[in-house]
Symmetry: C2
Subunit: 500 residues, 2 copies
């Protein structure tokens, strides 16, 4: 018997088996059973079909933080047969407008507190219009498991955001494999610290619903609120980027709140260190592990769990980890041969998995390049130790990852290059304790022109791109260093940053 | 990216990630790492291809208890592109010969201590010829996930054994879903009490390998040996049919051995009672749950785990349970409508799932009947309580389940009917504390003939069928009771047994 693999099964399961269970909590006033949650998903699907004219296959955009409406969209949009397009709330209005135009979105749901991308199509402003609960379950759509279900825009190294298209099958299998590898179950209470608009919310929207666990929504990351909710709701799992972990560790409430319910903290989005893991483990009184993934793979590729039968090791748990169930991950050399497991030889992290995207939305050339030879080419460089644990040693070329967000250096460079006092420009990542990396810019000035101030150039970028993409440091040089072919030598610039 | 779902992934994972881990233990002398296990699977595949001439799609039969060779066959046969056909060692030689003929098996591997089915094709006698480790990994076959991977013969109610054909996709998803629902992981040490030749070994061969857990082989069920191995290997999970549980509870060693490693006992194959669960929980100092399934669904359909957020309840855990992830299980009335969840209204247990068989091997009519309307019709009758827990209230029509083995009453009837002193015959299930059910026969005698003795009739059946199929009780009546249509009224006969 062959039935389509679809995340909608998780909703059906929650609706049937966990109807009376409080499945979704938000703030002090909202506690929703799965029966109510499912009926609200039905209500959203009805609104899409009957009022907004959304047809199967259409893209439906959401611009919101981690509110229950976005969690509902993970199911309601799919019930209507449409494709969910969660937008990154940290993007600027022009960047958002570009995603909406590129995807030809059929409708937009937006939080009025966020920048208005000026969308011309049907728009629902959250808080002003609510879909409520449907009287009847919305009929399940006729799903082909290979059809797209979600679309996420990601800044590739070109700086032009591309939409990664994920199928029902990919999302279903990712959720099941991720939960299985990490031992997650219906007893788990998960605080949504990681944006649901990001890389499929690390799969949390799916597996937790299907297993009957509890979602605690967190509309905006706030350390005091995180610690309060952990205590109040008995949160068992925390997914954090290192930046969030550092913010929590610095907060005075960390010693005041009862955090004993937390059983695991999972760190991802940027490399961690054994020292950070130790600090997290002490603060939360539980084990911390790392994970790694990317939008193109739904996203989880690895988790740094200790292997069964091996002694606990924080050094191991601070690595990038081992592939999760359902992922064949290999570090390949230039001839696509696996590098030796010697903790020394560097290769590119590549993955084969059902979790990998269908492709980039309407970008066949970039898709072919990303999936060359049947492997997802992550662009990340790594070594493998004798036990098979992968450790990333260099960010993918020309991509800066800051607080879990991708920043294409070329995009920042293009913005700076429009300044009249900039002749040459290069942007590289500067290691930062809090953000992982921040952009740092080097510029040279046309002959005879007075050099612009650091503040002036930072402001120039802020006016053109999302704020987090602006460089934190700008240095003016007489001339930028070049390699043999005349290309700007970014390695030399990075070295100069480290020295300085 | 779309890759075939296949249990071979579990072997690849164990080979790559858990190479040094002791994966398979048997008796006092055998401790195999996953590296060795994988190379032995390669060796078996090489033997099949090079020496036995097995071609992709061929059926390869195994006649053995829970020995490491059969566990290797779960992967080695699939590596060779063939279909694994594990035979039931409790069957008689003619029954085995019928399965081999019906499936047109290409090769047979057999334990010389078991009945020789007189197979004419290539045969490997275990212990006399060993495949050893291959020097090189066997190349992964080009699998279509919908292709068959395993074939299990099962006594349907017709008495003619039918082969249930299970696909790579079904077996893969069953393993993942089963482990996820039940929270099993790489830390688990599992003692193979349940025959691997039975209903896919409840999926244990697959998920445990992929997660890097430890298999403890048990060639033959023996209570003292079970308890010894639990203590020695630190077994964490026990899968038992109630008959096995009772045997263990009765054994004097139960109070002598350290059984504290056991974290869960899972009972299946026959209904349990809260009293049995209580006795098991006390003896093993852990939680006991029930499960339910059938060959046609890979097999697990339900587990009686307490729902998250509900108080622990042994009464609930003694029910048939809730569907596992990936199974849509409903109790349907005669019009295929779901019965109310009132713990009273009886319907037939039906299931839709990717775990359900492709169909019966070369039996299109019986396949169509079993999968009528897109549901697997289990033939089991059940009620559903207000929380959705299913409880089976009657065995499927004319099928007796004794010690976890199916016995078709018509088959026993046919054997008895060949006796010259039997005029009418009916066989029904008699409740039995140890075996769940045992066959009980009612016969009438041709006019003027002296009635045969009970022992004579039991011996008559034993000479013709597997020993466990022989009735434990035979009653001679003047005439068997009939219903309105003249059919023998088995309900009346069952009632008579209960009175007696």
């Amino acid at each position: 018997m062959k039935l389509p693999l679809t995340p909608l099964d998780f909703l059906t399961r929650a609706r049937r088996l966990f109807a009376d269970r409080v499945g979704v909590v938000q703030g002090d006033d909202l506690r929703m059973t799965y029966a109510t949650f499912a009926r609200r998903c039905d209500g959203l699907a009805t609104l899409l079909r009957d009022d907004l004219g959304v047809r199967p296959g259409d893209r439906v955009a959401f611009l919101a933080g981690n509110v229950h409406e976005l969690l509902e969209a993970y199911y309601g949009v799919l019930l209507a047969g449409a494709v969910l397009l969660p937008l990154n709330i940290r993007n600027s209005a022009p960047e958002l407008a570009a995603c909406l135009a590129d995807s030809r979105a059929a409708a937009l749901f937006r939080d009025p507190a966020l920048p208005d991308p000026g969308f011309g199509g049907p728009t629902v402003v959250l808080g002003e219009r609510d879909w409520g609960q449907a009287d009847e379950p919305f009929p399940l759509p006729d799903v082909d498991e290979d059809d797209p279900a979600e679309l996420f825009y990601t800044s590739g190294s070109t700086g032009r955001a591309k939409g990664a298209l994920l199928s029902h099958r990919a999302l279903y299998l990712h959720a099941v494999h991720n939960a299985l590898t990490n031992g997650m179950g219906g007893h788990d209470v998960l605080l949504h610290t990681i944006p649901l608009f990001h890389v499929n919310g690390w799969g949390t929207a799916h597996f937790l619903t299907g297993l009957g666990g509890t979602h605690v929504m967190l509309p905006r990351f706030d350390a005091a609120e995180v610690l309060r909710m952990v205590e109040r709701e008995g949160v068992t799992r925390l997914f954090l980027v290192p930046t969030m972990a550092l913010t929590l560790l610095d907060h005075p409430d960390v010693g005041q709140r009862d955090l004993s319910s937390v059983q695991q903290v999972s760190l991802g989005g940027a490399p961690s260190t054994p020292a950070l893991l130790a600090a997290v483990e002490e603060a939360f009184g539980c084990e911390a592990i790392c994970g790694y993934g990317m939008t193109e793979s739904s996203p989880t590729l690895t988790r740094s769990l200790d292997k069964p039968g091996t002694p606990k090791s924080r050094i191991r748990r601070a690595t990038t980890g081992l592939p999760i169930v359902g992922v064949d991950l290999r570090v390949l050399d230039d001839h696509d041969a696996e590098v030796p497991w010697d903790a020394t030889t560097i290769g590119e992290v590549c993955a084969r998995s059902n979790h990998v995207m269908i492709g980039y939305w309407e970008r066949p050339d970039e898709t072919a390049e990303a999936l060359r030879g049947g492997w997802l080419r992550t662009g990340d460089l790594a070594v493998v130790d004798a036990e098979g644990y992968v450790t990333i040693v260099d960010r993918r070329r020309d991509l800066i990852v800051s607080g879990g967000e991708n920043i294409a250096s070329v995009e920042v460079e293009a913005a700076l290059a429009t300044h009249p006092a900039v002749r040459e420009v290069a942007v590289v990542g500067l290691a930062d304790e809090r953000w992982g990396e921040v952009p740092a810019a080097f510029v040279s000035v046309p002959d005879g022109m007075p050099p612009p101030t650091e503040e002036e150039l930072i402001e120039w970028v802020r006016a053109r791109l999302a704020r987090f993409k602006a460089p934190k440091v700008v240095r003016v040089l007489d001339e930028l260093p070049k390699g043999g072919t005349g290309k700007i030598d970014k390695l030399a610039l990075r070295a100069r940053l480290v020295e300085g």
